[in-house]
Amino acid sequence: MNLFRIFSRPPSSAPAARERLQVLLAHERAVVGGDSDLVAKLRDEILRVIQKHMKIDQEKVSVTMERGDQMSTLAVDIEIPFKPGKKAA
Protein backbone atom coordinates (compact mmCIF):
# COMPACT_ATOMS: atom_id res chain seq x y z
CA MET A 1 0.00 0.00 0.00
CA ASN A 2 1.26 3.42 -0.89
CA LEU A 3 1.60 6.02 1.86
CA PHE A 4 0.68 8.89 -0.41
CA ARG A 5 -2.60 7.31 -1.24
CA ILE A 6 -3.64 7.54 2.37
CA PHE A 7 -2.29 10.90 3.44
CA SER A 8 -2.71 12.92 0.31
CA ARG A 9 -5.21 12.66 -2.42
CA PRO A 10 -3.91 12.03 -5.92
CA PRO A 11 -4.41 15.00 -8.24
CA SER A 12 -7.96 14.95 -9.55
CA SER A 13 -8.42 13.39 -12.95
CA ALA A 14 -11.72 15.02 -13.89
CA PRO A 15 -10.11 18.07 -15.56
CA ALA A 16 -8.16 15.76 -17.86
CA ALA A 17 -11.37 13.94 -18.74
CA ARG A 18 -13.14 17.21 -19.48
CA GLU A 19 -10.35 18.48 -21.67
CA ARG A 20 -10.07 15.24 -23.65
CA LEU A 21 -13.80 15.10 -24.23
CA GLN A 22 -14.01 18.69 -25.39
CA VAL A 23 -11.40 18.14 -28.07
CA LEU A 24 -12.80 14.78 -29.17
CA LEU A 25 -16.41 15.89 -29.32
CA ALA A 26 -15.62 19.08 -31.19
CA HIS A 27 -14.11 16.91 -33.93
CA GLU A 28 -16.86 14.29 -33.85
CA ARG A 29 -19.71 16.80 -33.93
CA ALA A 30 -18.23 18.40 -37.00
CA VAL A 31 -18.40 15.02 -38.71
CA VAL A 32 -21.98 14.30 -37.69
CA GLY A 33 -22.97 17.82 -38.75
CA GLY A 34 -21.94 16.91 -42.27
CA ASP A 35 -18.72 18.87 -42.21
CA SER A 36 -16.70 15.66 -42.41
CA ASP A 37 -13.53 15.41 -40.46
CA LEU A 38 -11.25 17.97 -42.11
CA VAL A 39 -8.11 16.05 -41.26
CA ALA A 40 -9.54 12.85 -42.72
CA LYS A 41 -10.70 14.74 -45.82
CA LEU A 42 -7.24 16.19 -46.36
CA ARG A 43 -5.74 12.76 -45.86
CA ASP A 44 -7.90 11.26 -48.61
CA GLU A 45 -7.42 14.13 -51.05
CA ILE A 46 -3.67 14.30 -50.61
CA LEU A 47 -3.40 10.58 -51.27
CA ARG A 48 -5.58 10.94 -54.38
CA VAL A 49 -3.46 13.74 -55.79
CA ILE A 50 -0.30 11.73 -55.30
CA GLN A 51 -1.90 8.70 -56.91
CA LYS A 52 -2.51 10.77 -60.03
CA HIS A 53 1.21 11.05 -60.55
CA MET A 54 2.48 7.72 -59.38
CA LYS A 55 1.26 4.33 -58.37
CA ILE A 56 1.53 4.24 -54.61
CA ASP A 57 2.15 1.08 -52.73
CA GLN A 58 -0.22 1.26 -49.75
CA GLU A 59 2.35 -0.56 -47.63
CA LYS A 60 4.80 2.28 -48.20
CA VAL A 61 2.45 4.99 -47.03
CA SER A 62 2.19 5.91 -43.41
CA VAL A 63 -0.39 8.41 -42.29
CA THR A 64 -0.57 9.77 -38.77
CA MET A 65 -2.94 12.33 -37.33
CA GLU A 66 -3.23 14.05 -34.01
CA ARG A 67 -6.39 16.04 -33.37
CA GLY A 68 -5.89 18.97 -31.07
CA ASP A 69 -8.07 21.77 -29.75
CA GLN A 70 -6.18 24.64 -31.32
CA MET A 71 -4.43 22.69 -34.02
CA SER A 72 -4.34 19.26 -35.59
CA THR A 73 -1.46 17.63 -37.36
CA LEU A 74 -1.50 15.37 -40.35
CA ALA A 75 1.63 13.61 -41.51
CA VAL A 76 1.72 11.64 -44.74
CA ASP A 77 4.93 9.73 -45.24
CA ILE A 78 5.33 8.18 -48.67
CA GLU A 79 8.20 6.26 -50.18
CA ILE A 80 8.67 7.51 -53.73
CA PRO A 81 10.66 5.07 -55.82
CA PHE A 82 13.54 6.60 -57.75
CA LYS A 83 13.96 5.32 -61.29
CA PRO A 84 17.42 6.14 -62.66
CA GLY A 85 16.35 5.00 -66.14
CA LYS A 86 14.03 7.95 -66.49
CA LYS A 87 16.77 10.53 -66.04
CA ALA A 88 16.37 13.53 -68.31
CA ALA A 89 18.98 13.30 -71.03
Partner: protein, 272 residues
Amino acid sequence: MGKVIVVTSGKGGVGKTTSSAALGAALAQGGEKVVVVDFDVGLRNLDLVMGAERRVVYDIVNVIQGDAKLTQALIRDKRLETLYLLPASQTRDKDHLTPEGVEKVIAALKKSFDWVICDSPAGIERGATLAMRHADVAIVVTNPEVSSVRDSDRIIGLLDSKTLKAEAGERMEKHLLLTRYDPARAARGDMLKVDDVLEILSIPLLGIIPESMDVLRASNVGAPVTIADGSSAPSRAYFDAARRLKGEELEVTVPGNEKRGFFGKIFGRKAA
Protein backbone atom coordinates in the same frame (compact mmCIF):
# COMPACT_ATOMS: atom_id res chain seq x y z
CA MET B 1 0.67 -17.97 -34.20
CA GLY B 2 -0.90 -15.69 -31.64
CA LYS B 3 -3.82 -16.48 -29.41
CA VAL B 4 -7.18 -14.87 -30.06
CA ILE B 5 -9.13 -13.89 -26.98
CA VAL B 6 -12.66 -12.55 -26.90
CA VAL B 7 -13.76 -10.42 -23.97
CA THR B 8 -17.52 -10.80 -23.85
CA SER B 9 -20.51 -10.60 -21.50
CA GLY B 10 -23.90 -10.23 -23.09
CA LYS B 11 -24.87 -7.51 -20.64
CA GLY B 12 -23.65 -3.98 -21.27
CA GLY B 13 -21.48 -1.88 -19.01
CA VAL B 14 -19.98 -4.71 -16.97
CA GLY B 15 -16.34 -3.86 -17.73
CA LYS B 16 -15.41 -5.51 -21.05
CA THR B 17 -13.61 -2.50 -22.49
CA THR B 18 -11.90 -1.67 -19.20
CA SER B 19 -10.75 -5.30 -18.94
CA SER B 20 -9.61 -5.57 -22.57
CA ALA B 21 -7.39 -2.51 -22.16
CA ALA B 22 -6.10 -3.50 -18.72
CA LEU B 23 -5.24 -7.08 -19.68
CA GLY B 24 -3.72 -5.99 -22.98
CA ALA B 25 -1.48 -3.48 -21.24
CA ALA B 26 -0.56 -6.01 -18.54
CA LEU B 27 0.50 -8.60 -21.13
CA ALA B 28 2.41 -5.96 -23.12
CA GLN B 29 4.33 -4.91 -20.00
CA GLY B 30 5.61 -8.49 -19.87
CA GLY B 31 7.06 -7.99 -23.35
CA GLU B 32 4.32 -9.79 -25.24
CA LYS B 33 3.15 -8.28 -28.50
CA VAL B 34 -0.51 -7.39 -28.07
CA VAL B 35 -3.25 -5.89 -30.21
CA VAL B 36 -6.60 -4.91 -28.74
CA VAL B 37 -9.38 -4.86 -31.33
CA ASP B 38 -12.53 -2.78 -30.82
CA PHE B 39 -15.55 -4.63 -32.23
CA ASP B 40 -18.05 -2.07 -30.98
CA VAL B 41 -18.65 -0.54 -34.41
CA GLY B 42 -20.75 2.62 -34.14
CA LEU B 43 -19.99 3.12 -30.45
CA ARG B 44 -16.26 2.83 -30.15
CA ASN B 45 -14.76 3.56 -26.75
CA LEU B 46 -11.60 1.51 -26.48
CA ASP B 47 -9.69 4.39 -28.11
CA LEU B 48 -10.78 6.69 -25.27
CA VAL B 49 -9.96 4.21 -22.53
CA MET B 50 -6.51 3.72 -24.06
CA GLY B 51 -5.96 7.44 -24.64
CA ALA B 52 -5.58 7.16 -28.42
CA GLU B 53 -8.78 8.94 -29.45
CA ARG B 54 -6.99 11.86 -31.10
CA ARG B 55 -4.79 9.61 -33.18
CA VAL B 56 -7.30 7.42 -34.98
CA VAL B 57 -6.53 7.53 -38.71
CA TYR B 58 -8.30 4.47 -40.09
CA ASP B 59 -10.51 1.85 -38.49
CA ILE B 60 -11.39 -1.83 -38.88
CA VAL B 61 -14.16 -1.04 -41.40
CA ASN B 62 -11.67 0.85 -43.59
CA VAL B 63 -9.44 -2.23 -43.54
CA ILE B 64 -12.29 -4.61 -44.34
CA GLN B 65 -13.45 -2.42 -47.22
CA GLY B 66 -9.94 -2.14 -48.61
CA ASP B 67 -9.55 1.62 -48.05
CA ALA B 68 -6.55 1.09 -45.84
CA LYS B 69 -3.97 -1.56 -45.06
CA LEU B 70 -4.06 -3.18 -41.67
CA THR B 71 -0.65 -1.73 -40.79
CA GLN B 72 -1.98 1.76 -41.47
CA ALA B 73 -4.94 1.32 -39.17
CA LEU B 74 -3.01 -0.04 -36.20
CA ILE B 75 -2.17 2.56 -33.57
CA ARG B 76 0.84 1.94 -31.41
CA ASP B 77 0.54 2.89 -27.76
CA LYS B 78 2.68 5.86 -26.76
CA ARG B 79 3.73 4.27 -23.48
CA LEU B 80 4.18 0.60 -24.38
CA GLU B 81 6.08 -0.37 -27.50
CA THR B 82 4.39 -3.75 -27.92
CA LEU B 83 0.80 -2.59 -27.39
CA TYR B 84 -1.40 -1.76 -30.38
CA LEU B 85 -5.01 -0.76 -30.94
CA LEU B 86 -7.24 -1.48 -33.92
CA PRO B 87 -10.11 1.01 -33.56
CA ALA B 88 -13.73 0.44 -34.50
CA SER B 89 -15.51 2.78 -36.86
CA GLN B 90 -17.53 5.50 -35.21
CA THR B 91 -19.58 6.69 -38.14
CA ARG B 92 -20.80 3.42 -39.59
CA ASP B 93 -22.87 0.56 -38.25
CA LYS B 94 -22.29 -3.09 -37.50
CA ASP B 95 -23.43 -4.23 -40.96
CA HIS B 96 -20.08 -3.09 -42.27
CA LEU B 97 -18.40 -5.88 -40.37
CA THR B 98 -18.56 -8.85 -42.73
CA PRO B 99 -17.69 -12.38 -41.63
CA GLU B 100 -15.13 -12.68 -44.46
CA GLY B 101 -13.60 -9.32 -43.63
CA VAL B 102 -13.29 -10.14 -39.95
CA GLU B 103 -11.75 -13.50 -40.77
CA LYS B 104 -9.06 -11.89 -42.91
CA VAL B 105 -8.23 -9.26 -40.31
CA ILE B 106 -7.95 -11.78 -37.48
CA ALA B 107 -5.86 -14.17 -39.59
CA ALA B 108 -3.42 -11.35 -40.39
CA LEU B 109 -3.23 -10.14 -36.78
CA LYS B 110 -2.56 -13.66 -35.49
CA LYS B 111 0.53 -13.79 -37.65
CA SER B 112 2.23 -10.77 -36.12
CA PHE B 113 0.93 -10.62 -32.55
CA ASP B 114 1.20 -12.96 -29.57
CA TRP B 115 -2.23 -11.91 -28.34
CA VAL B 116 -5.24 -10.62 -30.25
CA ILE B 117 -7.77 -9.33 -27.72
CA CYS B 118 -11.25 -8.74 -29.14
CA ASP B 119 -13.37 -6.29 -27.13
CA SER B 120 -16.93 -7.41 -27.85
CA PRO B 121 -19.94 -5.11 -27.95
CA ALA B 122 -22.80 -5.87 -25.55
CA GLY B 123 -25.70 -7.97 -26.74
CA ILE B 124 -25.90 -11.25 -28.61
CA GLU B 125 -26.25 -9.89 -32.13
CA ARG B 126 -23.92 -9.70 -35.07
CA GLY B 127 -21.21 -7.59 -33.45
CA ALA B 128 -20.92 -9.91 -30.47
CA THR B 129 -21.02 -13.12 -32.48
CA LEU B 130 -18.41 -11.81 -34.94
CA ALA B 131 -16.14 -10.80 -32.05
CA MET B 132 -16.23 -14.33 -30.61
CA ARG B 133 -16.20 -16.21 -33.91
CA HIS B 134 -12.43 -16.77 -34.20
CA ALA B 135 -11.56 -16.94 -30.53
CA ASP B 136 -9.28 -19.58 -29.04
CA VAL B 137 -10.09 -18.42 -25.53
CA ALA B 138 -13.08 -16.53 -24.10
CA ILE B 139 -13.11 -14.25 -21.10
CA VAL B 140 -16.64 -13.91 -19.78
CA VAL B 141 -16.91 -10.65 -17.86
CA THR B 142 -19.55 -10.82 -15.15
CA ASN B 143 -20.67 -8.57 -12.30
CA PRO B 144 -21.85 -10.31 -9.12
CA GLU B 145 -25.45 -9.44 -9.83
CA VAL B 146 -28.40 -11.52 -11.14
CA SER B 147 -28.97 -10.06 -14.60
CA SER B 148 -25.28 -10.10 -15.44
CA VAL B 149 -24.95 -13.76 -14.39
CA ARG B 150 -27.97 -14.69 -16.47
CA ASP B 151 -26.59 -12.94 -19.55
CA SER B 152 -23.20 -14.58 -19.04
CA ASP B 153 -24.91 -17.95 -19.06
CA ARG B 154 -26.48 -17.03 -22.36
CA ILE B 155 -23.13 -15.97 -23.80
CA ILE B 156 -21.50 -19.21 -22.64
CA GLY B 157 -24.17 -21.02 -24.66
CA LEU B 158 -23.23 -19.00 -27.74
CA LEU B 159 -19.52 -19.61 -27.20
CA ASP B 160 -20.26 -23.33 -27.18
CA SER B 161 -22.31 -23.23 -30.37
CA LYS B 162 -21.60 -20.25 -32.63
CA THR B 163 -17.80 -20.14 -32.70
CA LEU B 164 -15.50 -21.79 -35.21
CA LYS B 165 -14.06 -23.92 -32.40
CA ALA B 166 -17.49 -25.14 -31.37
CA GLU B 167 -18.49 -25.87 -34.95
CA ALA B 168 -15.33 -27.93 -35.38
CA GLY B 169 -16.36 -29.97 -32.37
CA GLU B 170 -13.59 -28.57 -30.19
CA ARG B 171 -13.94 -27.29 -26.66
CA MET B 172 -13.81 -23.53 -26.25
CA GLU B 173 -11.61 -22.49 -23.34
CA LYS B 174 -13.68 -20.16 -21.15
CA HIS B 175 -12.70 -18.09 -18.12
CA LEU B 176 -14.77 -16.07 -15.74
CA LEU B 177 -13.62 -12.57 -14.87
CA LEU B 178 -15.67 -11.22 -12.01
CA THR B 179 -15.53 -7.42 -12.12
CA ARG B 180 -16.83 -4.51 -10.04
CA TYR B 181 -16.69 -6.71 -6.97
CA ASP B 182 -17.51 -4.63 -3.91
CA PRO B 183 -15.98 -6.03 -0.69
CA ALA B 184 -18.18 -3.85 1.53
CA ARG B 185 -21.37 -5.14 -0.04
CA ALA B 186 -20.02 -8.67 0.03
CA ALA B 187 -19.33 -8.35 3.77
CA ARG B 188 -22.91 -7.19 4.33
CA GLY B 189 -24.12 -10.20 2.38
CA ASP B 190 -25.81 -8.05 -0.25
CA MET B 191 -23.89 -9.36 -3.19
CA LEU B 192 -23.82 -12.73 -4.88
CA LYS B 193 -20.91 -14.72 -3.47
CA VAL B 194 -17.99 -15.66 -5.68
CA ASP B 195 -18.67 -19.34 -5.04
CA ASP B 196 -22.31 -18.93 -5.99
CA VAL B 197 -21.43 -17.34 -9.33
CA LEU B 198 -18.82 -20.01 -10.00
CA GLU B 199 -21.24 -22.78 -9.16
CA ILE B 200 -23.95 -21.36 -11.41
CA LEU B 201 -21.74 -20.68 -14.42
CA SER B 202 -19.28 -23.52 -13.77
CA ILE B 203 -16.32 -22.11 -15.68
CA PRO B 204 -12.89 -21.51 -14.08
CA LEU B 205 -12.13 -18.19 -12.43
CA LEU B 206 -9.58 -15.92 -14.10
CA GLY B 207 -9.74 -13.21 -11.47
CA ILE B 208 -11.81 -10.91 -9.30
CA ILE B 209 -11.51 -7.19 -10.00
CA PRO B 210 -12.65 -4.94 -7.16
CA GLU B 211 -14.92 -1.96 -7.72
CA SER B 212 -12.50 0.94 -7.54
CA MET B 213 -12.10 4.66 -8.10
CA ASP B 214 -8.77 3.85 -9.72
CA VAL B 215 -10.62 2.49 -12.75
CA LEU B 216 -12.56 5.72 -13.17
CA ARG B 217 -9.43 7.81 -12.70
CA ALA B 218 -7.55 5.77 -15.29
CA SER B 219 -10.30 6.21 -17.87
CA ASN B 220 -10.38 9.95 -17.16
CA VAL B 221 -6.73 10.33 -18.08
CA GLY B 222 -6.90 7.81 -20.94
CA ALA B 223 -4.71 5.02 -19.67
CA PRO B 224 -5.49 1.35 -19.07
CA VAL B 225 -5.62 0.98 -15.29
CA THR B 226 -2.59 -1.33 -15.38
CA ILE B 227 -0.58 1.57 -16.83
CA ALA B 228 -2.15 4.46 -14.88
CA ASP B 229 -1.37 2.95 -11.48
CA GLY B 230 0.19 -0.48 -11.53
CA SER B 231 0.04 -0.85 -7.77
CA SER B 232 -3.66 -0.16 -7.30
CA ALA B 233 -5.94 -3.01 -6.23
CA PRO B 234 -7.68 -3.44 -9.62
CA SER B 235 -4.31 -3.33 -11.41
CA ARG B 236 -2.84 -6.05 -9.23
CA ALA B 237 -5.91 -8.17 -9.89
CA TYR B 238 -5.55 -7.60 -13.65
CA PHE B 239 -1.82 -8.40 -13.60
CA ASP B 240 -2.57 -11.68 -11.82
CA ALA B 241 -5.33 -12.46 -14.32
CA ALA B 242 -2.87 -11.84 -17.18
CA ARG B 243 -0.41 -14.30 -15.60
CA ARG B 244 -3.16 -16.91 -15.34
CA LEU B 245 -3.97 -16.35 -19.00
CA LYS B 246 -0.38 -17.22 -19.77
CA GLY B 247 -0.89 -20.49 -17.94
CA GLU B 248 0.51 -19.73 -14.50
CA GLU B 249 -1.32 -21.21 -11.59
CA LEU B 250 -1.95 -18.55 -8.99
CA GLU B 251 -4.38 -18.58 -6.15
CA VAL B 252 -7.20 -16.08 -6.65
CA THR B 253 -7.57 -13.64 -3.76
CA VAL B 254 -11.01 -12.32 -2.98
CA PRO B 255 -10.80 -8.50 -2.61
CA GLY B 256 -11.22 -7.53 1.04
CA ASN B 257 -9.97 -10.91 2.26
CA GLU B 258 -6.30 -10.38 1.53
CA LYS B 259 -3.95 -10.30 4.50
CA ARG B 260 -3.78 -6.75 5.67
CA GLY B 261 -0.48 -4.95 6.13
CA PHE B 262 0.45 -2.48 8.86
CA PHE B 263 -1.81 0.29 7.62
CA GLY B 264 -4.59 -2.09 6.85
CA LYS B 265 -4.52 -3.12 10.51
CA ILE B 266 -4.57 0.43 11.78
CA PHE B 267 -7.43 1.45 9.56
CA GLY B 268 -8.94 -1.89 10.36
CA ARG B 269 -12.39 -2.78 9.35
CA LYS B 270 -13.02 0.16 7.11
CA ALA B 271 -11.64 -1.77 4.14
CA ALA B 272 -13.41 -5.04 4.82
